[in-house]
Symmetry: C2
Subunit: 163 residues, 2 copies
């Protein structure tokens, strides 16, 4: 049992900054989305991921992967969004175990109405503080961290060059 390696100055700065960003940024975005349309950042992302999928639907487990969430969390949220008429759940025709979540037309319209305000907030609260180079570096570093946490995370697919 040896003495643990404590964080040095840069490691500590990086860690504390990430920790703060982690609570402040989602709070700011949640806030904007909630006043704009009683939607959380997570709700928004669920719908956004569906809107980008072929046919605007995905199996629950793939949607969970794309939102980095547990199936349980997703299930509760999809139930809520379904009650609002923005999503619809259907059984998969070939595999009766899987449920697919479909973005409804009303959901799509809602999402489109929310999108401009949301990206604008992403800019003002996040991207505007950075230079083009910062953003490029952050994308690279961020993807490294994601890879360390989940080595076949969906955002790492098709964007990486192959050998």
């Amino acid at each position: 049992m040896t003495e643990p390696r404590w964080l040095n100055a840069d490691e500590r700065r990086a860690w504390l900054a990430l920790l703060s960003i982690n609570t402040l940024l989602p709070a700011a975005l949640d806030n904007q989305l909630h006043t704009a349309g009683k939607v959380s950042l997570f709700d928004y992302n669920v719908m956004a991921m569906l809107s980008e999928a072929e046919g605007r639907f995905l199996p629950m487990s793939q949607l969970a992967a794309r939102t980095s969430s547990s199936l349980s969390r997703l299930s509760h949220v999809v139930a809520k969004l379904e009650k609002r008429g923005w999503l619809e759940r259907r059984p998969h025709p070939r595999d009766a175990r899987v449920t697919t979540a479909h973005l409804s037309d009303v959901g799509m319209t809602t999402l489109e109405a929310l999108a401009p305000g949301h990206v604008e907030t992403v800019r003002t609260k996040f991207l505007d503080a950075l230079t083009e180079r910062d953003i490029h570096d952050l994308a690279r570093i961020g993807e490294k961290i994601v890879a360390g946490l989940d080595d076949d995370h969906w955002i790492l697919r098709d964007t990486e060059s192959r050998p």
Copy 2:
């Protein structure tokens, strides 16, 4: 009402990576802390911030600032930690409005027992994926983002050079 500026490739990569990190990293750390000692990452941070303060106590509002949390959230959590005997609340002697949270000896011991496993997890889940240079860049970029979200955030004090 002009067309919003959507995200370009790098902006999107940076944003999606941050979003994923944001859910995966705290989950991993919460997990470790919870199995090690039924403590959340936020609980841990509250105690860690107190442990680093002069005299191991801070007014609630300063503690809230240091944990980037709302006073309400903090109040609930401090109540919980107080019930476990790790913290103690005392009225401020000069200003009866303020409550100070003190880390107890038991709390300090608990924190010290948890710390090695926690830093180790911070390393394996986060820092190990990065080079020294990445960490330095991330610290710089991260602090820029924090500054954009809260221009007098505590982590920006004393670490920045002054004019």
